[in-house]
Symmetry: C2
Subunit: 205 residues, 2 copies
Amino acid sequence: MASADIPDIVIGRLPIYLRTLNCMLAEGKEITASQELADRLGMSSAQIRKDLSHFGEFGKQGTGYETRYLRDQLRKILRVDREWDVALVGAGELGHALAHYGHFDRSGFHIVAVFDHDPRKIGTKMGRFQILDSATIPTVIQEMGIQLAIIAVPADSAQQVADTLIEAGIRAILNYAPTTLNVPPGVRVQYIDPVVYLQRMTYYL
Amino acid sequence: MASADIPDIVIGRLPIYLRTLNCMLAEGKEITASQELADRLGMSSAQIRKDLSHFGEFGKQGTGYETRYLRDQLRKILRVDREWDVALVGAGELGHALAHYGHFDRSGFHIVAVFDHDPRKIGTKMGRFQILDSATIPTVIQEMGIQLAIIAVPADSAQQVADTLIEAGIRAILNYAPTTLNVPPGVRVQYIDPVVYLQRMTYYL
């Protein structure tokens, strides 16, 4: 499987293709085509074919793709043909919603530990989780061998939480705190700040 | 202010610059430079200067930017030097977290109506909001002149909700449902699907 030379923007589109293929399979579509994917996604079929061509040949000219085969290949490429454990830091309103977000489990991402530094929350139950003391992040992450973490703490403590997580072995962070994190090379961060997305749209209104 | 010819990817970076400038102001930094912004964001200062140059001159060569002035200009460019009303559809766990997310109000985005189609929820209170019947979306959106909406419903009802919102006058949608929406030209959509972000990182692990 190719890797280092593929632009990150291409990698970023693969999960969207995967999601759409899963949706097609749920509808019973066993065969699809780049044009059909393109129509659903509002993009060009040439772009989709070009993106996929980085990883090999997935269909025959004129006959389209076997939906399930392409879906399974994308799962392998994205390394989501396995299950992933995820640590969640922050047990506020957002952390609560994330801990109960069924789409994670259905997609093979399992929150296995929830941390907070608030003494009033530590040890209490949040749904099926018992909230752990943030002070135990290093030992818990290391013992469980967790590589993925979600940060759902206020912006002013996000960097410190990230530093602790990375020191403990976390290599990929989904950051909900509205701030940019400084991380060492080799650690990935993705950002979800809904205000940023809204501001990107108000420009056009 | 320039508009149509500026790449959307540039527009997408402006909210990040704005967020960082706000942070600098909170720290009391009255003067900054593209290099300082670049260091905080892990990008090149040339990229930042090029992005900003689309909109005019904001600083003098060698003396940097007045933080507040640049911040205020970015607010004007992004049209967030005013307040925006936002409709929220979906009063589940996620909708609940979004309705109470303080960062929206602090950024000038005010959720003013929350809708759900579940008869057990309609009319009940969710924090400071009384949950409205989704059937009233057309009248409420039109009467209040709301242009922005957040969709936090399951994937299989998101398209129908989007159609109703757009018909009622919504021109920009922040979609938390894990599905791609088909919208007419002139309507903007941004997507927040945390699974997509996680999958984009597992590729590299």
